[in-house]
């Protein structure tokens, strides 16, 4: 069998997953996932809980290792490289370098509680990218302004509401100037009245970024997604633009799922 190439030529493909399989012990959580995401596309992944959608997202930046298949991000295979014709796990430094180009927003925000909002934002730019602190701060304040929180700059995360924390977390991810943003159920841990403010920020972003969003927010999916991917039991069941997806889903499982969540 020919060794898979570790680079892709087409620079318009931001993410390409090929026959990705993932097991947790004997549990087969991702089954031959194939997915391509092109530049500036916004893909929303939906599916029942436990379907593997969050796990897949975490494989894209190698927070989870895959058992077989390949994932390319920004043209390079993530987590592995070619060593004399065989695939070898990448060095930590290389993985870190690739992750720096991929922003991730977590369900539980995962802000650094010992740092203020602005410190959360400038931490990686100053430590990883070695940007001078003054410049990082100026950039960071612009990002805070963009998510509407410039006045919260010096607050610690525990002084912010959930919605505000998630907006800071988005700004923190953007501060690395990634060319791909991953959102792992960004509104699931929020009180209902705070969901809107986070989705508004994400909708703004959707105009200018490549995004993969795991979410149950159908309103957001309808408004911002270019494509919806429905995942069930570790498999992609179907994918289509939102109009088509909601109007005439092709599979019975999709119809069943939609009827359960849209009541």
């Amino acid at each position: 069998m020919a060794t898979p190439k570790t680079k892709l030529k087409d620079s318009n493909i931001i993410v390409k997953a090929e026959k990705v399989n993932k097991y947790f012990g004997s549990l087969h959580v991702l089954k031959n996932i194939d997915l391509e995401v092109r530049k500036n596309e916004v893909v929303v992944i939906i599916g029942p809980s436990g379907s593997g959608k969050s796990t897949f997202l975490r494989c894209i930046n190698h927070l989870e290792k895959i058992n077989s298949g390949h994932i390319y991000v920004n043209g390079h295979m993530i987590g592995y490289h070619d060593r004399n014709g065989r695939l070898a796990e990448d060095s930590e430094r290389n993985i870190a370098r690739q992750r720096a180009e991929i922003g991730m927003v977590f369900q539980r925000f995962n802000l650094f509680p010992h740092l203020t909002a602005i410190e959360n934002i400038i931490e990686a730019p100053t430590r990883v990218r070695k940007i001078p602190e003054e410049q990082a701060r100026a950039d960071g304040e612009r990002l805070l302004a963009r998510v509407g929180l410039v006045d919260k700059r010096d607050q610690y995360p525990n002084q912010l509401s959930g919605g505000q924390q998630q907006r800071v977390a988005i700004a923190r991810a953007l501060a690395m100037k990634p060319n791909l943003m991953l959102f792992d159920e960004p509104t699931s841990a929020l009180d209902p009245e705070m969901i809107g403010e986070v989705l508004d920020v994400m909708k703004e972003l959707a105009h200018e970024m490549t995004m993969i969003v795991v979410s149950h927010e159908m309103g957001f999916a309808r408004a911002a997604a270019n494509r919806i991917v429905f995942v069930d039991e570790g498999q992609i069941i179907e994918q289509a633009p939102p109009d088509e997806f909601f109007a005439k889903p092709r599979s019975d499982r999709t119809r069943l799922f939609l009827s359960q969540i849209l009541h």
Binding site: L63, R108, N110, P113, E123, V128, M176
Partner: protein
């Protein structure tokens, strides 16, 4: 009936007179300085042992396990004797006296400090590990997702948070450390208890002298518990941590103190 010699007692608890005896004065200095250095050594070794124990690399894990196993599984007094007398007689290391300016650091003090520090590292390892493991794994993931390596994420994100968890038990360890330095008496390092022993050998007043000795330790540990309370409340105020036990609870709770190791 035993005649309590008040004049010896007062002479040896009242610092201005007690400190005229260099055995007591230097002994007190040695006890405090050795405690600080050995504790610092323990923190550093404990940090490495904890990281080793959590390492992905099996040899590092084994090394850390064996270290912790041996130093927690054998008495400190044996470790100290082995290091000083054992290494001396085999010439693995003779512990020559170290002269720094006007001060002479005896081989026994060096060996004692080293033994205390290495032993403490094995205990600190568990404290540091528990501190690191108390931090939400999402913190490491968030740091990694921003392009930070494990080392950088540890240093900048996880350890500063773990420190808040580590510092209260670290304070208790230091309290123990000041008492445990007295074990250095077996290698005749000139710390506080050795000083009192020497005085006792000269005038044989063990009851008066060892009460006086115990009061010196009590003053040291009490001063430390005030400093500790100050440090912990400072931590709490800054980082929104829960308040630790009050001064009175701390002094009289009787829950610490592991005794001789």
């Amino acid at each position: 009936m035993y005649h309590f010699d008040w004049s010896v007692f007062w002479q040896y608890i009242w610092p201005p007179t007690a400190f005229q005896d260099p055995l007591i004065r230097n002994g007190l200095i040695v006890t405090v300085v050795v405690s600080v250095i050995a504790q610092a050594l323990g923190v550093v070794l404990g940090l490495f042992a904890a990281l080793g124990k959590m390492s992905k690399l099996a040899p590092l894990r084994w090394l850390a396990e064996v270290y912790i196993w041996y130093f927690r599984g054998t008495p400190l007094i044996v470790q100290m004797s082995l290091l000083f007398f054992g290494f001396g007689v085999t010439h693995i290391y003779d512990f020559p006296d170290l002269i720094v300016g006007a001060i002479t650091i005896t081989g026994a003090i060096q060996a004692g400090t080293l033994a205390l520090g290495i032993n403490e590292g094995a205990y600190m390892a568990e404290i540091v590990r528990a501190g690191i493991e108390s931090i939400d794994p999402g913190q490491m993931e968030a740091a990694k997702s921003l392009g930070m390596t494990y080392g950088l994420a540890m240093q900048r994100i996880v350890l500063p948070q773990a420190a808040k968890v580590i510092i209260p038990p670290l304070g208790n360890e230091f309290n123990n450390m000041m008492k445990t330095t007295s074990l250095m008496v077996v290698i005749s390092a000139g710390e506080l208890f050795f000083g009192f022993e020497q005085v006792n050998a000269r005038i044989f007043k063990p009851f008066e002298l060892f009460i006086a000795a115990s009061l010196y330790y009590l003053v040291l540990t009490t001063i430390w518990s005030f400093i500790q309370a100050r440090i912990e409340s400072g931590l709490g105020e800054r980082k929104g941590l829960e308040r630790g036990p009050s001064m009175m609870e701390r002094l009289f709770s009787g829950s610490t103190g592991k005794g001789a190791r």
